[in-house]
């Protein structure tokens, strides 16, 4: 098998700017800065000529989103890419798909690349489903003839026949995602690059998409697939790449990569994790705590203790609709359950402020073992304002005798009914 992607010593530098009040630089700022530098240069001609950067010249900080990354992908490989938020996965994909240039290093690619970093890029809300299929197809690199040929298939896959001539601004978010993915799924590149696009859409559709991607893989195409959904990676990819802080931490067999990723992602032992402030977001999660009945934070509990997962979050504005999401995974990434504040009551609107939501995991629900909890704060139907994967580890310790040890996921004390079939009356 020949190599189709060869990445050598790839690095990417970004500049983070601290100074601007607004997000974007303006000419006004540039002029005032140049003027003040000029003034300083006149006052301190020696310092300026010695080539040292002047203070305040620009208060940007450099930051390596990718740092000396090398790897190779063979033709027909399906490679999963995993790593925490901000590890540099999207940056890698952006370089591979030529959206941004690397700062150092080199990538060699053989074959036509199609990349899907987001579903529905370029969709225009005013245009109809039909018009958007053509537009989006062209944006993704399909020719008009190609789109025409696949048109019916795309419409079928998205299940939107009836709404073909409705502007997509009237679509439900589910329909929108289905249509967007359907277009992308019918690309026929030699190399397909997919970022976390499956994070949206309902479970059934996700399954359909995964199926479609599997099909693409079976046709001998090369696939690079970034996902937080480890079981999807497991299902789709034989090999995986784990990126941590811009570097390759592990590359190899998917099982091994996932194992080492999970075992390292155990973040703390204290029963509380604090996250940094993000005042620029509408809302963010500031901490997650694991508490026992007496509200003491700890990280290990007995199976027959209840556990409170207290999620504290800061709302920087009013929210009419909001949810805190928690899901719990076992170490191999299988989600045991996921729940939201909406599950058993309607939440009321909240004003700006700091709030907490506590999830109570009943005693004797889960088997002993380590679990990973991920938390998110979102605004239905589609906005996820903050998300921390594997935010905290919950350890449940067993109390039972060895020979009573259970297998599976739950240790729920199920009811049993016992009867003596010979005697009429119940025994014990």
């Amino acid at each position: 098998m020949s190599t189709v992607i060869k990445v050598e010593n790839l690095s990417k530098r970004y500049y983070l700017s601290h100074q601007q009040k607004e997000n974007f630089p303006t000419l006004r700022d540039a002029i005032t800065r140049t003027a003040s530098n000029l003034g300083r240069r006149l006052l301190h001609p020696l310092r300026a000529s010695s080539g040292q950067p002047l203070e305040g010249l620009d208060s940007t900080e450099e930051f390596w989103a990718l740092d000396d990354v090398s790897f190779e992908v063979k033709q027909g490989d399906r490679v999963g890419i995993i790593g925490r938020n901000g590890a540099g996965k999207s940056t890698l994909l952006k370089i591979l798909s030529r959206i941004t240039e690397p700062t150092k290093g080199r990538v060699s690619i053989k074959g036509r690349v199609a990349s899907l970093l987001e579903v529905g890029t370029g969709f225009h809300p005013e245009l109809t489903g039909r018009e958007n299929i053509f537009l989006n197809g062209a944006i993704l690199g399909m020719t008009r003839v190609e789109i025409k040929r696949k048109f019916d298939e795309i419409v079928d896959f998205a299940e939107i026949e009836k709404f073909l001539d409705t502007p997509v601004k009237r679509y439900s978010s589910g329909m929108y995602v289905r249509l967007a993915f359907a277009v992308a799924a019918h690309l026929e590149p030699e190399i397909l690059i997919v970022d976390e696009v499956l994070a949206v859409g309902d479970a059934q559709f996700q399954k359909k998409c995964l199926g479609k991607m599997e099909e693409v893989g079976k046709e001998g195409r090369t696939v690079l697939f970034v996902s937080h959904n480890l079981s999807a990676v497991r299902r789709l990819c034989a090999r995986s790449l784990w990126i941590d802080r811009g570097q390759v931490s592990f590359l190899g067999d998917t099982e091994k990569t996932i194992q080492s990723y999970l075992s390292s992602s155990i973040p703390m032992k204290e029963g509380i994790v604090k996250f940094k402030e993000q005042q620029d977001k509408p809302a963010y999660i500031s901490s997650v705590e694991l508490l026992d009945e007496g509200n003491n934070a700890q990280s290990s509990f007995l199976v027959n203790q209840l556990v409170k997962v207290k999620v504290t979050f800061v709302a920087n504005r009013r929210f009419t609709l909001w949810r805190v999401y928690v899901d719990l995974k076992n170490p191999d990434g299988t989600i045991i359950f996921s729940t939201t504040t909406q599950d058993n009551r309607d939440v009321c609107p909240i004003e700006r402020g700091i709030y907490s939501a506590s999830l109570i995991i009943p005693s004797q629900l889960l088997l002993e073992g380590p679990y990973l909890l991920s938390v998110a704060f979102g605004e239905p139907p589609t906005k996820r304002h903050d998300y921390h994967e594997n935010a905290i580890v919950l350890n449940l310790c067993g109390t039972s005798f060895v020979f009573d040890r259970k297998i599976g996921f739950l240790s729920f004390p199920f009811e049993w009914e016992l009867e003596d079939e010979l005697d009429d009356k119940e025994r014990c």
Partner: protein, 277 residues
Amino acid sequence: MNEEDFDLIIEPTKGFKNYWRDLWRYRELFVFMAWRDILVRYKQTVLGLAWSVLRPVLILIVFTVLFGKLAKFPTEGNAPYPILVLAALLPWQLFANALSESSNSLITNANMISKIYFPRIIIPSSAVIVSCVDFLITLALMAGVMAWYQYLPDARILTLPIFVVLAILTALGGGFWMSALNVKYRDFRYIVPFMVQFGLYVSPVGFSSTVVPDSWRLLYSLNPMVGVIDGFRWALLGGDVDLYWPGFFLSVLIGLAFFCSGLVYFRREERSFADVI
């Protein structure tokens, strides 16, 4: 395995050798983007179309009254004053709309730029096409006004496409500069509308450029739109109208310089668009 076996090598700041080939390959995207802009423009508001007609009519009336009736500026040849104004309004509107559309185009399509690769130059270029539709509408208006005054253009009208292309190239040059600067410094957004407003009065739209004293004509032609507008009048008003050739060539030269420098600047800045947008 050696280099020749790969189709694409990505390296820092080398640019992409096959940029122009890619541009050809993405030509359909150009068409689709233009098509999208046109669809959206005329779909969003019923007023869209009405506005395209109304705006030039209003300017036409105001300028005719202001410059023709009150200030009593001379016309060119024996053309009625409204036709003189409209002949200038045609290229001016084309230029002004094209410049505004393409200057904002990168910001309006920011999401596409950060998620998809394609030759970025497609965006400011395709944004110009919508203005061509408006141009055609104003052209129809011109035909109507000429019919009303029973004023017939002569064979020079066949040269009109040359001047149209000139107006578009000038606008594109400005569009390349402004759209790239807009990504870098967000307050350029406020400069373009101002330039367009200001330009309407300093360019010979409401009056003939013959009112400018001869000794100043060449200097006046440093404004590339002066050449284009004079060219339009020369082509549309027919027989008695003369073109001031030195000024015209200077304008054309400036317009082309605009276009080329814009193209170079755009290509240079293009690389970092996805990172800063």
